[in-house]
């Protein structure tokens, strides 16, 4: 092999390897850039008012997003109450009881539901919950988010249940426990760590969703008592304030963005650390 050619191959090797490293670090640095920018802009704008005050009339400075923070929590609560049990129990079916053909259909449909764009889920929730009762509501928003929580929860539940070794199940049954008893008292608790982290990740994912809330939960200038009224939420407020011209609103949008991102990242970091410690590196 000629020396020139060898030199060429070696330099190509060095260049390409460096480029891949640059790419990897470049992508990671974007994350830090985002965080840095949000902390810089949002941190400056965070004050006690932000957490405790309601929005002020248009054009007046000040006010806060207390109702949006509570609103997001309420919507998440509803999404959890409706979506998590469905996802969990369906996941149990797929892992423990499922027949081959039907399970395949269910899995495929779950993946399909997971891939539906969130704006389309918003359309669905609008025609399902808003139109029949003729008003926007926390319920409609919560259901839209619940639908998005289900596929992620199913996947997490099924995977972590399957990861439990068969020997555990067989041991329980040898002691006389029925199948459902085995699942409830032995298998589920053993998989609970992973399943719970999967659920938290699902909730963190929908906490930041805006599109499905645009025409279900709508928004609200005030507190929203009960479940039947429109409700403010952090992502929708960020959107509304960001596209407006008022500098004070921009300031508040940064602050809200920081809060939202902070919560989402904390949840993700916590969950993934727990998963990694258990030796599970598969990304949910």
């Amino acid at each position: 092999m000629s020396r020139v050619r060898l030199l060429w191959r070696k330099s190509l090797n060095a260049v390409m390897l460096t480029l891949t490293g640059v790419a990897a670090f470049g992508v990671v640095s974007i994350l830090f850039l985002i965080l840095g920018y949000l902390i810089w802009n949002g941190g400056r704008s965070l004050n006690w008012d932000f957490f405790t005050q309601l929005p002020k009339p248009v054009g007046e400075t000040g006010g806060g997003m207390a109702n949006a923070i509570v609103g997001s929590l309420k919507l998440l609560l509803l999404a959890a109450l409706v979506g998590l049990p469905v996802g969990l129990i369906a996941g149990v079916y797929l892992a423990e009881f499922g027949g081959k053909a039907f399970s395949f259909v269910v899995r495929y449909t779950t993946d399909l539901l997971n891939g539906v764009p969130s704006i389309v889920i918003g359309i669905f929730a609008y025609s399902l919950v808003v139109l029949p009762v003729k008003h926007f509501s926390t319920l409609a928003g919560g259901i839209a988010l619940a639908i998005m929580v289900i596929p992620i929860t199913v996947r997490a539940t099924e995977e972590f249940l399957r990861a439990i070794p068969g020997s555990l199940r067989e041991g329980a049954m040898a002691l006389g426990a029925s199948k459902w008893r085995t699942i409830a008292s032995v298998v589920l608790p053993a998989a609970s760590g992973g399943i719970i982290t999967g659920m938290l990740l699902a909730l963190a994912r929908v906490a930041g969703e805006t599109a499905p809330l645009l025409f279900t939960a709508f928004s609200n200038r005030y507190w929203s008592p009960g479940w039947n009224q429109p409700i403010a939420s952090l992502p929708v407020m960020i959107y509304t304030y960001a596209i407006a011209p008022y500098d004070d609103w921009h300031r508040q949008a940064w602050a809200a963005g920081l809060i939202l991102l902070g919560l989402v990242l904390l949840a993700n970091m916590g969950c993934r650390l727990v998963l990694n410690r258990r030796g599970i590196t598969r990304s949910v």
Binding site: V105, A253, G257
Partner: protein, 328 residues
């Protein structure tokens, strides 16, 4: 397991004692089976209901426009003429731009993480990239408006024009918002998916493939590029399809930076519109049933696009898992 239960059922049903207890436990299993099955079926119900609602509520526009909906360029609420072409165009253009940026970047990063980085560094960086995937869309939109748009208008746009200004895709006025900006923001959003799925796919390639190539005198790069990556080709394609499906449905980040103009233009600097963005902007105010029905039909089109892509993606990834799983 099932044979045991049938054997039990064949015996005469006892009335008391340990046999009856076991019998009741078995029935508990049946109940559990039914309950879990119902919840699994609920998912099927929800999904079918979703498709049904989309279909039914788009009835007006489907019957009025038929297939011509797909190639009509006009979107005129006053005259009642609605066509999907500008939005399909916008959706495809922004997605293609995002792939052109994200695929080389993502693949390069995945190669680094899977082949070159020491395991702990690779895991650490993969962890951070998973975090990037969790950032909500509206935050990307926020950063898009205040960072990417001004950057495009002041630095990036003029630079591109200076170097490549002869190409039709870089002609025309540069507003800061437009197809290219939306494509860039989308690229940042989908690159984590490409990286994490490609990395995992690359990690499943058997060691002996690499070692064989290195043993024959290939450089690390040659071994990676000419042996490992082709081996994982289908899986990598699958990750690209997944990322594409995600890009197609992205709503908030895109609508905040694309300019919201339903026109088909050759220039990437021009403002455009995507299916998801127009639904988000106009849904709550579509006066008139035909208008609303057209928007819902757009939603149906988007649903079908992502459905097909996701299906293809899954197939490709499954194919790699099977193909790469040679017992060595």
């Amino acid at each position: 397991m099932s044979t045991t239960s049938t054997t039990l059922e064949h015996t005469a049903p006892p009335s008391a004692g340990p046999r009856a207890f076991v019998q009741r436990l078995r029935q508990g299993d049946e109940v559990a089976h039914v309950i879990t099955l119902t919840f699994a079926a609920l998912i099927l119900l929800i999904t079918s209901l979703l498709v049904y609602e989309l279909w039914i509520n788009s009835h007006l526009s489907r019957t009025k426009f038929g297939l011509s909906f797909f190639w009509t360029q006009i979107w005129d609420p006053i005259s009642g003429d609605f066509g999907a072409l500008p939005f399909i165009y916008g959706t495809l253009v922004t997605s293609v731009v995002s792939l052109v940026i994200a695929v080389p970047l993502g693949l390069a990063a995945a190669i680094f993480l899977a082949e070159l980085a020491p395991r702990r560094l690779s895991d650490g960086i993969a962890f951070l990239i998973d975090l990037l995937a969790a950032v909500p869309s509206v935050i990307y939109g926020l950063l898009g408006i205040f960072i990417v748009v001004p950057l495009m208008r002041t630095i990036l746009g003029p630079a591109l024009k200076a170097v490549l200004g002869d190409l039709p895709i870089f002609q025309g006025p540069n507003y800061g918002v437009g197809f290219l900006t939306a494509g860039i923001v989308l690229a940042i959003m989908i690159v984590p998916f490409i990286i994490s799925v490609s990395r995992e796919v690359l990690l499943t390639v058997p060691r002996d493939q690499r070692e064989a190539a290195l043993g024959l005198g290939a450089t690390r790069w040659e071994a990676t590029w000419k042996v490992v990556v082709p081996w994982a080709r289908t899986g990598v394609m699958g990750s690209i399809f997944l990322a594409l499906a995600r890009a197609l449905g992205e709503t908030m980040a895109v609508t905040m930076v694309i300019g919201n103009d339903p026109k088909i233009k050759a220039s990437l600097f021009a403002p455009g519109y995507t299916i998801a963005a127009v639904i988000a902007n106009e849904f709550t105010e579509a006066t008139g049933d035909l208008y609303l029905s057209s928007l819902i039909e757009l939603g149906l089109v988007l649903f079908l696009m992502t459905f097909v892509l996701n299906g293809l993606a899954r197939l490709l990834i499954i194919a790699t898992d099977r193909g790469g799983g040679h017992p060595s």
